[in-house]
Amino acid sequence: MIHSDLKTLSRALKEKQISSVELARLFLERIARLNPELNAFITVDEEKTLVAAKAADLRLASGSAGMLTGIPLAQKDLFCAQGWRTTCGSKMLENFVSPYDAAVVTKLEHEAGMVSLGKVNMDEFAMGSSNETSWFGAVKNPWDKTCVSGGSSGGSAAAVAAYLAPVATGSDSGGSIRQPAAFCGLSGIKPTYGVVSRYGMVAFASSLDQGGVIAHSAEDCAFVLAAMAGFDERDSTSLERPPEDYSRLLGQPLQGLKIGLPQEFFGAGANAEVVAAVLSAVEEYKRLGAKIVDVTLPNSHLSVPVYYVIAPAEASSNLSRFDGLRYGYRAPDCNDLREAYTKSRAQGFGAEVKRRILIGTYVLSHGYYDAYYLKAQRVRRLIADDFRRAFQKCDVILGPTSPTTAFKIGERSADLVALYLSDIYTIAVNLAGLPGLSIPCGFDSNGLPIGLQLIGNYFAEARLLNVAHRYQEATDWHTRRPQEFCGEF
């Protein structure tokens, strides 16, 4: 049962082959047994989970259940959930219990009736590409426990890859859903900016952050995205659009689909095995009837520097509220206000968060604002223009999700630029606000999964999922799982 896709789980629940409580217990048992090896979960609360599962069973019995009612999920630990500890992977919020629900929590748990198994690990305040910046320790990749699971939604990816949860929420500001999905052999989608409400999702970089899903398949992504998306008047950047069934185009043939290959995504930085796997996926798409066109994203090489101006600038301001006064970590034995601020923040934040606060404060400072922040905003528009021109020639853009497969834990902590460059293909998508997804397309010689990124035009989620789903019907990369975690108990 734990290996089933969401459609199968939904049918089993509706046909009473299993109750939501029984299903939750199966996963809770696996979490209790296997999580210590992976460190995917930060908080598990069996009692809360079972209360929610019982409520789902009542809905199932009363016939008021939806497609996802009773299905468990793991929540990335930046979605505030009432009564749950919400840490953002930080010592600063180690003991913060949210008094309110994020929009995503309301939609998935209260409306759709999904059952939270707990809160999963992440890079501290979503700042990182390896999950190594978490105060709660690095997450291990189920494919190779000496490797990172990716970040910042590394806990989400590891939990799904090891069957500790059938699906997980994530958030993506520069690749934080797509890169861990790629590193763990999963499917993950980041929708168009404004599709999923950010209300209650702890902010890292407000103009880039977007909630999304990590799951076993594009089809599963479609079901969960449909339940979490939608206009929310509490988020001023939420887009007022009618609700959408993201699975409606899944079966549509790919005849005549125009796939754009940007030369910039296949350059010197990309690992040869990664490029080879992606190019063989291109061959598969040709067999499925797609046409390949060359496109160019001439400013994409600027996306990493632009991102490391804009994201830290917003973060430096967003994280000012963590001052130790009203909630969160407060340093002991402070003699005055200044000491309380400086010590609480010095002790409560980790090195990467502090680094980005410093960068962000610097680029917004008087005398530097124009040279850094304003210039970065202008380049950001150029990057978006690149995509606009490219989508005049093609329907979707295809390339690798990450230049490499999962790297060793600790390997890049000394070389931050190398670490930052691991998001080089994903960041431009956030800067432009476009939807992007990652699906598995092969393995490297170490047996680590390789991810394929598909980028769509604004609001083209259903089409993107269709393009991913047809590939998954024709291939089986997405069904491969690390042997160690495949046994059913």
């Binding site: 994020a102 008047e233 509490r234 301001s317 009203r326 917004l364």
Partner: protein, 484 residues
């Protein structure tokens, strides 16, 4: 000393009369227990987001129209970053580069009566922002308390050009602005509760010289403090400069107890607020139709009303300005005129500005709490105008109305028999009696003492219980005293 010119500009924070806060749904009612009106958004919990209150935007549009400013088609909310315990997010959402109201002006009356003059004060801008909470340093035995009820209240910060040249002009401007924001219903103007507070930028220079170094006096929440603070500050600046000294640009606080200002921080330790557009809020676009809707809903504005009072009722500019100091007073005056007659408008104006105002001041009441309604006062003025009673008896009737001794002036006049005696036979008898009874005064008058004449008038009026027509009495007395 006279060779110095004082230059003043004001920044005024008007708390907008919205039911909920500018970026959250929390209530704005004053006086609730500490922190009971702070929502997760006001507390800046992790993950919360601001949503702009349309009501606050409407207030800003109305203000922009009332001061003939440009209401910006596009304005932008920015974050002003600094750490302070009563600023929960670590930044204040404000407007910086693109404020909602740009330019504009306010025409003010300065001074009293004959010496009064009109002056136009230009406005630089007005922008929307959120208020901070309150730090409470008393009551906690060495600790500080934070009340976030005020955090997130909608403010309109109105910035003037440095157009004022004296404390008196600054106060006149502040009063006119105070009247205007109440007039158009965007601010309750309650200065004690902090709904309307001013910062004054003050500098001095030799006439014709470029602007001198300015110091900003923060948080003046009464017109009296505004005046005292500016007067002290300008004296201090002039004395410092005349003694050969100098001073730096600084922010200062005014201590009402000592009447002095003292520096709070200098330019060197001024914050770098690191303003940048708030990514949680989209730029605010205001369509022309929205502006027109607000224009249509605006009441007649003070300046227009002042002009109309002058042309329609023949009032002096000073009287018209006094009567348009608040919408309530202007409405009361016009209702009084309607209840009497337009020809008696000047008399109505005097009654409202002098007798009613004095009574209100004595009882510390607002005009809305006047015990005599405009209709009652109008009825009273009508009886003075048509000669039924004298002005002096009018005051008696007014007192009776105030005490609730009758529903209108006519009833009181009838009940108390206050109708003026105009019958000349009756008056002649009263005059003859007075002359007979006061031979001393008669001879004093004839010896050239004018005072004696007044004493005789007094005697007649006393005998008539005030009801004799004073003009007739004095005419007849003079006639009798000169013929005999």
């Amino acid at each position: 000393m006279n060779a110095w010119e004082i230059v003043i500009g004001l920044e005024t924070h008007a708390q907008l009369a919205t039911r909920s806060k500018i970026f959250s749904g929390a209530s704005t009612a004053f006086g609730a227990a500490a922190n009971t009106q702070a929502s997760p958004i006001d507390l800046a919990l992790p993950g919360v987001l601001p949503v702009l209150n349309k009501g606050a935007v409407e207030c800003a549009i109305r203000f922009g129209l009332a001061v003939e400013a440009t209401v910006a088609e596009k304005s932008v909310f920015e974050r002003k970053n600094y750490f302070y315990p009563d600023l929960p997010k670590g930044y204040q959402i404000s407007q910086f580069e693109l404020p909602i109201v740009q330019g504009g002006h306010l025409n003010i009356m300065v001074g009293q009566g004959e010496k009064s003059y009109e002056k136009r004060i230009r406005l630089t801008r007005a922008h929307l922002e959120e208020d901070a909470g309150k730090s409470l340093h008393e009551d906690f035995h060495g600790r500080s308390g934070i009340d976030l009820n005020r955090a997130g209240m909608a403010l309109l910060e109105i910035v003037s050009e440095p157009d004022m040249r004296s404390a008196e002009e600054a106060v006149a401007y502040a009063k006119a602005l105070h009247a205007l924001v109440r007039w158009i219903g965007i601010c309750d103007g309650n200065m004690q509760e902090g709904s309307f507070r001013c910062d004054a930028n003050v500098s001095v220079r030799r006439p014709g010289a470029s602007l001198g170094t300015r110091r900003e006096i923060k948080n003046l929440n009464s017109f009296r403090y505004l005046k005292e603070a500016i007067e002290f500050e300008t004296r201090w600046q002039i004395e410092t400069l005349e003694d050969g000294g100098s001073f730096e640009q600084a922010t200062v606080l005014f201590d009402p107890a000592t009447g002095k200002t003292r520096a709070m921080r200098s330019k060197e330790d001024a914050h770098d607020y690191r303003y940048f557009p708030d990514p949680d809020l989209l730029p605010l676009f205001i369509a022309a139709e929205w502006i027109e809707r607000e224009r249509a809903a605006l009441p007649e504005l003070p300046v227009a009303k002042r002009q109309r009072f002058i042309s329609d009722y023949g009032l002096s500019a000073y009287d018209a300005a006094t009567l348009t100091a608040s919408l309530e007073m202007a409405d009361y005056f016009e209702a009084t005129v309607r209840a009497s007659n337009p020809a008696a408008a000047k008399l109505c104006a005097n009654w409202v500005m002098v007798d009613l105002a004095a009574r209100l001041k004595r009882e510390d009441r607002e005009i809305s709490e006047a015990a005599v309604s405009a209709a009652q006062l109008g009825g009273l003025v009508a009886r003075i105008a048509d000669g039924t009673i004298s002005n002096a008896i009018g005051k008696k009737v007014f007192d009776a109305l105030w005490m609730g001794d009758g529903v209108n002036a006519d009833e009181i006049i009838a009940k108390q028999g206050l109708k003026q005696i105009t019958d000349s036979d009756a008056i002649e008898k009263l005059v003859n009696d007075a002359l007979a009874a006061n031979p001393g005064s008669v001879s004093e008058y004839r010896a050239g003492k004018e005072k004696a004449f007044n004493a005789l008038v007094g005697q007649v009026m006393q005998a008539a219980k005030g009801k004799a027509n004073p003009q007739q009495v004095s005419e007849l007395l003079r006639q009798k005293l000169s013929t005999n």
